[in-house]
């Protein structure tokens, strides 16, 4: 079966004062129609840059050095700007963490949504306005007619994010990429937005790529999960496998370091020592080596590849995928 989006071995480089940095190194993943893929990782791991490169939004200084990104069979990276404009905002859309800076501050909400519809659909302005109002009502904005006359700064963060979602839905996209859409919002609003995204996904039968650092959201939303660390995918698994038997030491540590309101308080959080290495692209071996509990001397030399792990996921760690006594330990909950 053809995947809706298939990203193959993508690498991104940024020109810096001191040379080139490579925030994304050989990342591959795919998204099928209607499914939710979560990309999870800490800040600086390359999760946003990955999707920005797919969307062609890297900006000055950043460029894709290798790889392909096939969306409905066509390579997004090989498209001309005009071809891209046809796909982006239409079949493939994106919402961002900071909804305020994503909206134009001097245009009303109504004119922005209407403009977006007019740009992609052969409808009259009056029809576009009706459609815009319907969309704004659908995303849960009370009194949409009034909201259409308002400017972005007069809306709350949650309402702005709803407007962004309405904008993204203008043309019934096949794939919506959401880059930390609720990080700046309160938990009760986050719950509303996530519920809305789930409903819309069903309604439009669209696929969702959700970028987040919150393991709780991953558990709630994902079908499949991609864990990124230092510019690489370190583990890929379906959500149940990931939480039941995480393979990569980083994923395991990440899961153990999340507090939960259901914990008793004698549980001590496991923390990952140290920090993400800087200039990680020059590291020969495993990039998690300096923080890993299971590190062995060989890890420092050997570049790691994604291999099937015993729990059912793929992990970029030769210890859990190849060392027999570790394999048993690697799947602590698997029966």
């Amino acid at each position: 079966m053809q995947h809706l989006l298939s990203v193959e071995n993508i690498s991104v480089a940024f020109d810096g004062g001191t040379g080139e940095s490579v925030p994304v190194d050989d990342v591959s993943f795919h998204v099928d129609a209607g499914e939710t893929l979560c990309i999870v990782g800490e800040s600086g791991c390359g999760k946003s840059v990955t999707v920005l490169s797919v969307m062609g939004l890297l900006g000055k200084g950043g460029h894709v050095t290798a790889g392909r990104a096939l969306f409905e069979g066509r390579d997004l990276l090989a498209m001309t700007d005009a071809e891209l404009d046809n796909v982006r905002g239409n079949r493939l859309t994106m919402i961002f963490q900071d909804a305020l800076s994503s909206l134009n501050p001097v245009l009303t909400i109504g004119s922005q949504v209407t403009e977006s519809i007019l740009a992609h659909m052969p409808v009259s302005r009056a029809e576009a306005e009706i459609r815009a109002e319907k969309l704004l009502t659908r995303v849960g904005l009370p009194d949409a007619q009034r909201v259409m006359r308002k400017y972005p700064h007069t809306l709350s963060g949650g309402m702005r994010q709803r407007v962004m979602i309405a904008l993204a839905l203008c043309c019934s996209p096949r794939l919506l990429i959401a880059d930390e859409p609720t990080t700046a919002l309160d938990v009760t609003i986050q719950a509303q937005i996530m519920r809305l995204l789930k409903e819309l996904q069903q309604e439009y039968h669209m696929a969702l790529v959700l970028i987040t650092h919150d393991m709780g959201l991953v558990a709630e939303m994902a079908d499949r999960v991609l864990v990124m660390y230092a510019g690489q995918v370190v583990e890929e698994a379906d959500v149940h496998t990931l939480f039941r038997s995480p393979a990569h030491p980083y994923t395991r540590a990440l899961l153990q370091s999340v507090p939960s309101i259901h914990d008793t308080q004698d549980r001590r959080l496991a923390s990952i020592r140290g920090t993400v290495p800087e200039l990680y692209q020059s590291i020969e071996g495993c990039r998690f080596f300096n923080r890993c509990e299971m590190a062995r001397p060989e890890c420092a030399q050997q570049p790691q590849t994604l291999e099937p792990a015993p729990g059912g996921s793929s992990a970029r760690c030769w210890v859990v995928t190849q060392v027999p006594e570790m394999i048993l330990e690697a799947a602590p909950h698997a029966e």
């Binding site: 999340v258 507090p259 309101i261 920090t275």
Partner: protein, 350 residues
């Protein structure tokens, strides 16, 4: 409660009470016009009472704009209360400090969310930590360096950090500096204002553990302000939930999440994503609407505009923060219908 700090026995006269907050109110007038006059008032904090006992951590949770940070800032003296009292060891704190006389204010310190804005970028870490000591004459030029090194060691930073500037450190390390600075004057109470909200998950755990370890080592008392329920639960003995400038529920932290009595607390618990995909299908209250403006808080119970169970009574009469279960005086809720939740939860557990 499964807490590893031995809880000091509470004497009837409250001898172990370190800090009492009584009827705390903070209003910000909004002034407009050529001859500025007050056109509206922001009711940031609207009558907050609580006690902090020596050695405990009180968590303060709520959504943005609920006034939790303002409470913290008033306690350390960064804001002057509009009304109400803050008693330290039963005595009111001096409003402003004059030169030479520092008094009890140094016993109350604060750790901030934004580690970049709260550290002077032009000062070396050694000076950031050492200057308060010199200023308050707790050390001399000769004795300050060993003290700085002791502080750095306490928070897990290398001694050579003293020579470096804030920008050379990561967010987590800067928060360690923030903690070290708060500790430098040997405080009794530290107000932690969302100390981990800006940090990555793996670093959050480091800092939360450090905060807990320091408490054991130095017998500190914390007011821990946050919006992440799980993180607040992890460090707190008791938790107070704030909504629109008022405390709606206060309880030992295990009770609060296992048997919440206020619908808002329940909604907050339900809204917090649980890191377990098997939990997805659980019944959840998802609140509709957003937090109302604190220019004109709703009459009656402030939560009634979003509460799925609100009745006529809730729209007119403001509920008091009281204990609803006589055997459990430490669990107080401001809800007319709290009794309903208690029986319901009891039935669920049985």
């Amino acid at each position: 409660m499964q807490n590893d700090t031995p809880q000091p026995p509470l004497e009837p006269d409250g001898a172990q009470t370190l800090l009492s907050v009584r009827g705390l109110i903070k209003q910000y007038p909004i002034r407009r016009g050529w001859f500025p006059r007050t056109v509206a008032t922001v009711h940031a904090v609207d009558g907050v009472d609580f006690d902090l006992h020596r050695g405990e951590t009180l968590g303060l949770v709520g959504e943005s704009g609920c006034g939790k940070t303002t409470v913290g800032r008033q306690i350390v003296g960064l804001e002057t209360p509009t009304a109400g009292e803050i008693l330290y060891h039963g005595q009111p704190l001096p409003e402003r400090l004059r030169g030479g006389e520092r008094g009890d204010r140094t016993r109350l310190q604060m750790v901030f969310q934004d580690t970049f804005a709260s550290l002077n970028p032009r000062k070396r870490i050694g000076d950031i930590l050492g200057d308060p000591l010199l200023y308050h004459r707790l050390a001399t030029r000769k004795t300050v360096w060993p003290e700085v090194h002791r502080l750095l060691d306490l928070v897990g930073l290398p001694a050579n950090a003293a020579q470096r500037y804030p920008h050379e450190f990561s967010g987590g390390q800067r928060q360690r500096v923030g903690l070290a600075r708060a500790l430098s004057l040997k405080p009794d109470l530290i107000v932690c204002d969302e100390p981990v909200s800006a940090l990555d998950v793996s670093i959050q755990a480091q800092i939360l553990n450090l905060i807990r370890d320091l408490q054991h080592e130095l017998q500190l008392t914390y007011l821990f302000i946050g919006h992440g329920l799980a993180a607040v639960h992890y460090v707190s003995d008791r938790i107070a939930v704030m909504y629109l400038g008022k405390i709606v529920e206060i309880a030992p932290s295990s009770d609060l999440f296992f048997a919440p009595q206020h619908p808002y607390t329940q909604a907050l618990c339900d809204a917090a994503p649980v890191p377990d995909p098997e939990e997805r299908k659980r019944d959840r209250i998802v609140l509709s609407g957003e937090i109302p403006s604190n220019l004109q808080p709703p009459a009656g119970c402030r939560f009634h505009t979003r509460c799925p169970y609100a009745t006529e009574l809730c729209k007119t009469v403001e509920p008091a923060l009281i204990a609803h279960v006589p055997e459990d005086p430490g669990h107080m809720t401001a809800c007319h219908h709290a009794q309903r939740w208690i029986t319901k939860k009891g039935a669920l557990q049985a």
